[in-house]
């Protein structure tokens, strides 16, 4: 009929919203594999900075050096990933023409620039045991700025017309923060002798548990909009992420006195955190592709 919402009684139960030949209303992202990789790598780098600083402050130099190393590697790789994803990579400096609070990508560009500027000297000073003044100036600021690098990427995807991202704006930052903690802890655990890795191991286990909780909360709160996490590629990725994260946290906790078990657990946590970011990334494509996800909630809002 012409006017489904026109006040006439419904002859059929509420079904799939109407659409134009089932074509999407919003565009799918043009981003490629570099972006979820960056979400993982950048998040890990951001959480490694406070871990490294705290380790140094508590006299655990062996852990501090390695965690700074993870942070340094992360902020070195991140810009390469982001620039290679651009349609015009040679124009990446245009990002630094402006600072726009309305654009999480602009804010994030400056967050990444700040983290690179702070983590790189702090890490190099910590690893080479030189330039203590530079370290003293940069390290605490890097520890404070790091979590911003871990969480802004959640705001970046949430600030979109893609329902599965936009509707998760209150929970997605916690998912990314937890995944970053798990991966920073796990990476430092893998690199550090067991006797010095205690805090990293505890951070990895706690981060993994928090990540499972955050993913569950996000999917529950999304309701119908969370459909992409139930089926298809993002659904499989989300399930695999949860299984690896749960197994990783459990293995690290139960086998904490066995070096092999701890390593396997840490590797599983890293894989789980990376996989979770891929699930979120892929869910955006599935959410954009089906006009029902876009139109349904909007139509409900109008008829409420």
């Amino acid at each position: 009929m012409s006017d489904r919402g026109g006040g006439e009684q419904r002859m059929v139960p509420k079904g799939k919203p109407r659409s134009y030949y089932d074509q999407p209303v919003v565009k799918r992202p043009v981003w490629t594999w570099e972006i979820p990789c960056y979400f993982f790598v950048g998040g890990m780098a951001g959480a490694s900075a406070p871990l490294a600083w705290a380790a140094g402050a508590t006299g655990n130099e062996r852990l501090a050096k390695r965690a700074w190393g993870v942070g340094l590697a992360g902020v070195a790789v991140s810009p390469v990933l982001l620039i290679s994803d651009l349609g015009r990579p040679e124009r990446f400096l245009n990002m630094l023409r402006v600072f726009k609070i309305t654009s999480p990508m602009s804010v994030g560009t400056w967050i990444l620039a700040a983290n690179g500027t702070l983590i790189a000297p702090a890490a190099l000073a910590a690893i080479t045991r030189r330039a203590p003044r530079i370290f003293a100036a940069a390290a605490p600021l890097a520890a404070l700025a790091g979590p911003g690098l871990s969480t802004y990427t959640a705001v970046l995807v949430a600030n979109s017309a893609i329902p599965v991202w936009s509707e998760a704006r209150r929970t997605l930052p916690f998912l990314f923060a937890a995944g970053s903690a798990a991966s920073a802890g796990a990476a430092a655990t893998l690199l550090t002798p067991a006797a010095a890795a205690g805090p990293a191991r505890r951070l990895a286990i706690a981060g993994g548990i928090a990540e499972l909780f955050a993913a569950e909360t996000m999917e529950r709160k999304l309701g119908e909009a969370g459909g992409p996490y139930e089926s298809g590629t993002p659904g499989r990725l989300a399930k695999a992420a949860k299984a690896m994260t749960a197994a990783g946290a459990a293995t690290m906790a139960i086998g904490r006195r066995r070096r092999g078990a701890v390593r396997i657990g840490a590797a599983l946590l890293l894989a789980g955190a990376a996989c979770e970011r891929w699930a979120v990334y892929k869910a955006g494509f599935a959410s954009a592709a089906d006009p029902a996800y876009t139109v349904g909630p909007q139509r409900d809002r109008l008829e409420r």
Partner: protein, 305 residues
């Protein structure tokens, strides 16, 4: 929307001061669209928009599918057939009476053409040039800007193809050209506006379905047109995007539709993502604090082991 979630960035005309021109836009009256696609062609010709053809789609007479980097006007073709006579095996004595009983006329369904309840909906879609433009807010290079005419334009010498505007648009207007790497969309013929010419699509439209002009004038004209159509019995006529209180603060290019927006592939209640940004930033701040607390907690107890 709460007052706190209102738009933070200065928009037209404030950002232009004395250089501001009257805000212009399109009123696309789909009730007189004949689906000739002159607008699509004129836009491509004037703006040098590349060809992008995937052959026959099977979607009525629409083979150009949607708006994108290489299509800044797109004509939708909707075929609607309403079952006249309802359920059951017995045909009505008179199709006209049956159509009358089902109030098909009141709903905007022409019952001539043998009273078979069939109608065409044709509509030329375009960038909405939103008052609160998600693409403009999201653009991290300042490539997308608001012109002195209140329109939203991508500067191709600045765009680095990050693609963030593509997901920020509630209408799916912007896209990236794969061979070129940059994002393209309707400019409302910014170059022609400099010379007081109307945009190519509006000039080419043979039925004045696409009307260009000052937004205030167009809105008054559109309100009159809806009233006229209602008086003539087309109860389904409604304006889409002519309300400043909607989720994007009103469209610079708005429409008169004969059915729900989703029928034409348009979102029924679009909201600019920026309105929810404070919530997301607040959640990120809380999550960052939780992450720092988590790291601190990992050092409590059997510290350094």
């Amino acid at each position: 929307m709460t007052a706190a979630a209102r738009h933070p960035a200065p928009a037209w005309p404030e950002s232009w001061g004395e250089e501001a021109e009257p805000r212009v836009g399109f009123f696309t009256d789909t009730s007189v669209c004949i689906g000739c696609k002159a607008c699509e062609v004129a836009c491509k010709e004037w703006n040098g928009v590349p060809d992008e053809s995937d052959g026959l789609s099977g979607n009525s007479y629409d083979n150009s599918l949607d708006l994108g980097a290489n299509r800044w006007r797109h004509v939708a073709f909707v075929e609607q057939r309403v079952e006249v006579g309802g359920v059951g095996s017995s045909a009505p004595d008179s199709w006209v009476e049956e159509a009358s009983r089902q109030q098909l006329v009141e709903q905007g369904l022409p019952i001539h053409d043998g009273a078979d309840g069939f109608r065409w909906l044709m509509s030329s879609d375009v960038c909405k040039h939103c008052t609160e433009a998600g693409c403009l807010d999201a653009c991290p290079t300042g490539s997308i800007f608001r012109t002195e005419h209140g329109t939203v334009v991508v500067q191709e010498d600045i765009c680095n193809g990050c693609g963030y505007c593509v997901t920020a648009c509630p209408f799916g207007v912007l896209d990236r050209r794969s061979d070129d790497g940059r994002v393209w969309k309707c400019t409302l013929c910014y170059d022609r506006l400099q010379d007081d010419m109307e945009p190519a699509c509006a000039q080419a439209c043979p039925t004045d379905s696409i009307q260009f002009g000052e937004l205030e004038v167009l809105r008054r004209r559109a309100a009159d047109r809806v009233e006229h159509l209602h008086e003539r019995g087309v109860a389904s006529a409604r304006l889409y995007g002519a309300d400043d209180d909607d989720g994007v603060g009103g469209f610079g290019a708005f429409f008169l539709l004969l059915d729900e927006p989703e029928t034409y592939g348009l979102p029924p209640d679009p909201v600019v993502p920026t309105r929810h940004l404070p919530e997301a930033f607040a959640a990120a701040a809380a999550a960052s604090a939780a992450l720092l607390a988590g790291v601190a907690a990992a050092f409590i107890g059997r510290s350094a082991r």
